[in-house]
Amino acid sequence: MTVSKAASSWQAARIVLQREWLLAVRRPAQVLQPLAFFAVVTAMFPLGYTPELAKLRAIAPGVLWVGALLASLLALEHLFREDASDGTLEQYVLSGQSLTWLLLAKTIAHWLLTGLPLTLMAPWLGVVLGVPLTAATGVMGALALGTWTLSLLGSIGAGLTLGVRRGGVLLSLLTLPLAVPVLVFGARATELAITGDSPTGALYLLGSLAVLGLTLAPLAAAAAVRIGLE
């Protein structure tokens, strides 16, 4: 194969994004399963607790957040695993591009394919928990920022658990405690949105976590993947 000149960072990122998109289109189950999981888990709460919407509304922030947290963890298991076993990640390392940058592109693709659909779905799932649709903006804002930070945190965990047998359970054990701040601020923003108050303060805190994650997590994820590929 003849390559006239090396791809720029932006081109490389675009190639990664396109590849993830194509893979998702060819294997839609990987994208749809976490969404179905989110819906099923949410539907369990009225059945296991009470069908009274007033009571469900009180626990709705927690239900939505724990559901979204578990659904994105489910998807994170596949973030690097297939690419590690078929050698794609090794090609990333050898490509001469910054691994941090490529993994960030991959994580962005992952968020677009799981975090964003979960976010768009949450207000509709909220309806079955008695959450008014007027709260949709706040709920979606919180989940968009929160799932973004989760994807970044999870990329570290997914990198660290590469090559670990039964890595899925371990991935949850590693990622969930680190996700406590996201859960706390996210559930609070959702609660404020549901009660009709302004969730701005909590959203700012979520936003700062999202920015902090964006600056540090890709570096840690690249270090983790390098170790995992040894």
């Binding site: 570290i156 660290l160 890595g167 371990l170 054990l173 680190l178 701040p181 840690a220 983790a224 170790i227």
Partner: protein
């Protein structure tokens, strides 16, 4: 820079550290035993009962030092892990590995003593108090670290992967503590009883400080023993082991 750093590079040598740890252990273990015994006498016999909490307050002599150690050990572990990662120093990784179990147990001790204290004071074993909650999350962080370490068969990879996790955890712990405080301040009024009163009388305070010292020395002693065991395990095929064990 050569000679100035020789003392540091010697810490990269397992036989040197093994010998040094053996020499240092009694210097930590005996002062630890003495100060813990003195603090126990001071705390359980000499100190007066608290005017509000009665005799129940005495659990602080175990609870507070354990809580302090649980956090400090994570910092020590992350520092050792960072040194191991940056200078590729195997002994530092061994030190980090020997910290994890001790730290997890001190976290358990602080949680259990906190619950035992809570039963008479709050009327229930568990309250979602910010400090108890943060300790619980810390325990999960330790469990994740230990789980990751045992999940990877290759020692070198286990060392480096768990080191990255320890560093990620150390960045996260302050954020977790802050978020839990914030969460608690929203959902319930701050608890009336604060353990650390600035007005604590000297008869209570001195044994407590002595206990902090004793626990910290105890950690140092146990960590050195565990470090030696860890080095032995890792270097079991090395020839210097036979010399050292003779």
């Amino acid at each position: 820079m050569g000679t100035n750093w020789a003392w540091f590079h010697r810490f990269g040598s397992p036989p040197h550290v093994y010998r040094l740890a053996g020499l240092l252990t009694p210097w930590f273990a005996w002062p630890a035993a003495l100060s813990i015994l003195a603090a126990l006498y001071g705390g359980l016999v000499l100190a007066p009962p608290d005017y509000q909490q009665g005799e129940g307050f005495r659990i602080i002599y175990v609870h507070a030092p354990s809580a302090w150690l649980s956090v400090m050990i994570y910092a020590v572990m992350a520092t050792a892990a960072g040194v191991g990662l940056i200078w590729r120093m195997k002994v530092a990784h061994a030190a980090a590995a020997s910290c994890a179990g001790i730290g997890a147990w001190f976290t358990v001790v602080s949680l259990v003593t906190g619950m035992l204290w809570g039963k008479p004071m709050w009327g229930t074993y568990w309250v979602w108090d910010p400090r108890l909650t943060a300790q619980l999350v810390l325990l999960f962080l330790y469990l994740g670290y230990i789980g990751l370490r045992s999940g990877i068969d290759d020692l070198g990879r286990a060392d480096r992967a768990s080191a990255v996790l320890a560093l990620v955890g150390v960045v996260n712990i302050p954020i977790i503590r802050y978020s839990v405080e914030w969460w608690n301040s929203i959902h319930q009024a701050p608890s009336v009883m604060k353990m650390a009163k600035p007005s604590m009388p000297m008869e209570m305070l001195v044994p407590l400080l002595l206990m902090f010292l004793g626990f910290t020395l105890y950690f140092a002693a146990v960590m050195l023993v565990r470090l030696r065991a860890e080095i032995l395990r890792r270097e079991r095929s090395a020839s210097w082991i036979r010399e050292a064990l003779r």
